[in-house]
Amino acid sequence: MYPPPSEWVTPPTRPDLIENLVSGVDRYNPSNVGILEDYLYHQIRTQEYDCLANLAILKLYQFNAQLYNPDVIINILVKALTNVPFPDFNLSIALLDARSPAAPLDEPDPFPTLLPHLVSLHNLLQQCRFPAFWALYRSDELESLRDNYTVEVVGFEDAIRDVAVRTVKATFQRIGKKRLGSYLDLEDADFDAYVEKLGWKTDESTGVVEVPSNPDNHISSTIVQEDIKLPQLSKIISHAMQAV
């Protein structure tokens, strides 16, 4: 299931130091950018994720063009991909000022070439086109994204599989192995191991995976009746009292 929004606003894993930065005025102090960037790399190594802390980095970049660091931005966007269908990716892009960095970098800036690819990947995830996502992700074009960035992000591919799994859980009661495999980009033994880890049962004779029952894949017809609350009637009742 999805974590509650309060955990998105304040992840339980967030250290106090970061909490003070994110919630106070110190978040505007450019000299704190290092702390937040270190925290981002900590998230990359540990599979933790803290959207608001990462947005705080982009906020500092927005106000202080000299801090611009393309690697950090790309890593933030890569992390944000793993939290689809939540709006993290677009919220991050919204903070990127469309201007070139103030200081020329030593190396060519990888960000302008990678950004359109990242946006495409995000759109595919958002539209639940998981097979197309994997095809694009594994394409030659995105070699530099894989070799320079996502390879460092511990558990990146599994995190994307989680995105697919969450959607499948909501939509399916039973799903064919082949179809699920194409969403997870897994086959044979890898697939079986992954499904087993999820605790889902496979009917080997039919090749169909049973998705555990949950509130979203359990449907029922209901009739919503009008619910009148007392405050709605307060004016009428109080008027009736006056009239007497």
Partner: protein, 606 residues
């Protein structure tokens, strides 16, 4: 920083001032020459010259305006809130209409003798002076720089005097001060981003302004600094928290300290929170915008709803944040609440000078409501929905048709979104970079946000088509559905997952106070699930709603009854005597003598 500019002003005045004017006469009339003693000798000479020029201009100020300024000043000196309010809300606007509808008010230096050179009053006067320029006349670069300086002087005075300032101003004015400060910031950023239309002089000034690091005029940092300072000084967050905990007056006074107990600081603090909400939205930071609101309770009983403009702005920006967070049900609820409020308040606001502004914002919120309702259909409020159909029926129809409706989404979003700004100026300090900037201008902020929003819309563009098919069945084979849609089965199944995702959304439910809090809810009345290749569909039907209709009409009937009771018995019934300007309600009261017309009053609100 103000020194060199002073000289610039004076130089300009000297050029204009070639006519002969009797020095003694001028000094005699002013009688305040001793106030200029502090200046350096050259400055003094220049100011004498200036006085000469001012003499004529001063004489040209109409007497009612002079009387008004003197009176206004007295009211401020006496801290007489009632008189200040009258001067602020009616006097100023009346004289503007009469004398200054297309020109500036007299320069503050010019009217200084009338108010004993009272520095505080002159700052307040300039606040009005520049606001008038921004709203009625196109401000030039000097106006933009000077209005910034004046705002800084005002906030400096309030924040950095020895202890709290014993000034009292009407709450409406305090809101206007904060609101205008942000408006001028936004206006400056937009103006600054248009490099092509700048004159050489403007380019020079802008390049100087961007080189003074740390001292940047209208920089985002300086604006945020003012707002955060006001919030901290007034301890407004602590005040709101204490109020919500039901603490006593004494306890609250203890908590908020010497600044926070004064209405001026408390209100400025609160308005600064709303100001921050707005600035963060303008800069595209929608989570931070809602986060600064974490202590503020959004409801009609909140203690700060008296300033309608503030109340309306709050809901507009909060609602917009929810759209960008893809929390459409929350956005809808936010807009419905405030639009109903505006409808109810309308009768009291037709005469207010802010009525136009509130109406414009309301119209934009109807457009945003239409967008949200197309993305997440709800039947929250038929009343508002009907008004939306009236105004944006055509666009709404298009938006409910998926991909082909994208231009309609674009149109309404562009119309109704806030005026986004870019945090950083074009590189005015570097001519080469500036040329490159002009040739290859980056995307405008509004366009960037539009693109992001449209990507959200596209992700669920298939929803209307899919829904219209699924609604016809209770169960259906996926391959068959793919056949109907003329689509590949696997791709269609993926689209169905997108439809399913679009029907789930985070939303605040009753107990969530924090604006960012919420739970996953189902937003669609049609739900489905796929069992291998079989699609099962179920529909929730909403029973027809009667309560709103009956409550409205009962209340209406009560008002009519009250009206009938309060009116004297008709002496001789004259059927058509109701004057033209009388509203439907009053008209109805005058009519009950004619029985066949007694149903007429029930219809208009039905």
């Amino acid at each position: 920083m103000s020194q060199p500019r002073m000289a610039l002003w004076a130089a300009e005045d000297m050029e204009e001032d070639l006519q002969d004017v009797d020095v003694n006469l001028a000094l005699g009339n002013y009688g305040h020459s001793e106030l200029y003693d502090e200046g350096a000798p050259t400055l003094l000479a220049m100011q004498h010259q200036k006085l000469l020029a001012n003499e004529e201009a001063f004489a040209a100020i109409p007497d009612p305006v002079k009387r008004f300024i003197v009176h206004f000043h007295q009211a401020v000196l006496k801290n007489n809130l009632a008189e200040i309010t009258v001067a602020y809300e009616s006097g100023w606007n009346r004289l503007t209409e009469k004398y200054y509808s297309k020109t500036e008010w007299p320069d503050a230096d010019l009217i200084a003798p009338l108010v004993n050179n009272d520095p505080l009053f002159l700052i307040l006067y300039r606040e009005l002076y520049y606001r008038h320029i921004y709203s009625r006349i196109q401000p030039d670069i000097d106006d933009r720089f000077h209005s910034y300086e004046n705002s800084c002087e005002l906030f400096n005075y309030l924040l950095n005097s020895d202890g709290p300032v014993p000034l009292e101003l009407p709450e409406q004015w305090l809101w206007d001060i904060v609101d205008e400060f942000i408006y001028q910031f936004q206006s400056f950023c937009v103006w600054r981003s248009k490099v092509k239309s700048k004159s050489d002089e403007e380019l020079l000034l802008l390049s100087e302004a961007s080189q003074e690091s740390g001292l940047q005029v209208w920089s985002a940092y300086s604006v945020l600094n003012v707002l955060y300072s006001l919030i901290q000084k007034s301890k407004i967050n602590e005040y709101i928290a204490a109020q919500q905990q039901g603490k006593s007056e004494e306890e609250i006074a203890e908590i908020v300290g010497e600044y926070g107990v004064l209405p001026l600081y408390r209100l400025l603090g609160y308005f600064s929170i709303i100001g921050l909400l707005r600035v963060h939205v303008l800069l595209g930071d929608f989570t931070l915008a809602l986060k600064v609101m974490e202590n503020v309770e959004l409801n009609q009983k909140a203690p700060f709803t008296r300033v309608t403009a503030c109340h309306v702005a709050t809901y507009y920006y909060v609602g917009f944040c929810y759209i960008m967070l893809r929390r459409y049900p929350d956005a809808i609820r936010t807009f419905v609440t405030i639009l109903n409020f505006i409808l109810r308040m309308r009768q009291y606001h037709t005469r207010s000078y802010q009525y136009d502004q509130i109406n414009k914002t309301a119209d934009r919120m109807y457009a945003l409501f239409a967008i949200c309702n197309a993305l997440s259909p709800s039947r929250l409020d038929d009343n508002i929905a009907n008004i939306v159909k009236d105004r944006y029926g055509e666009q709404f129809g298009k938006m409910s048709r998926g991909e082909e409706g994208i231009p309609a989404f674009e149109e309404l979003f562009t119309y109704a979104c806030p005026k986004f700004i870019s945090a950083n100026p074009p590189p005015y300090e570097d001519p080469e970079a500036l040329t490159a900037y002009v040739e290859d201008s980056p995307q405008e902020p509004a366009h960037r946000h539009l693109t992001l929003f449209l990507s959200d819309v596209r992700a669920q563009a298939i929803v209307p088509t899919m829904r219209s098919f699924l609604k016809l069945y209770t169960s259906l084979d996926a391959a068959k559905l793919a056949g109907f849609l003329d689509a590949d089965e696997e791709e269609m199944v993926q689209q169905m997952m997108a439809v399913k995702s679009a029907s789930r959304c985070i939303s605040r439910v009753g107990s969530d106070k924090d604006l960012l809090d919420g739970q996953m809810i189902v937003t669609s009345d049609m739900d489905f699930v796929i069992n291998e290749n079989m699609v099962h569909i179920s529909e929730s039907t909403v029973g027809r709603r009667f309560a709103g209709w009956f409550i409205r009409n009962t209340e209406h009937a009560q008002r009519v009854l009250d009206g009938v009771r309060a009116s004297p018995l008709p002496a001789a019934p004259k059927p058509a005597s109701a004057p033209a300007g009388v509203s439907a309600e009053d008209g109805a009261v005058a009519k009950p003598a004619a029985p066949q017309k007694s149903v007429a009053w029930a219809k208009p609100s039905a």
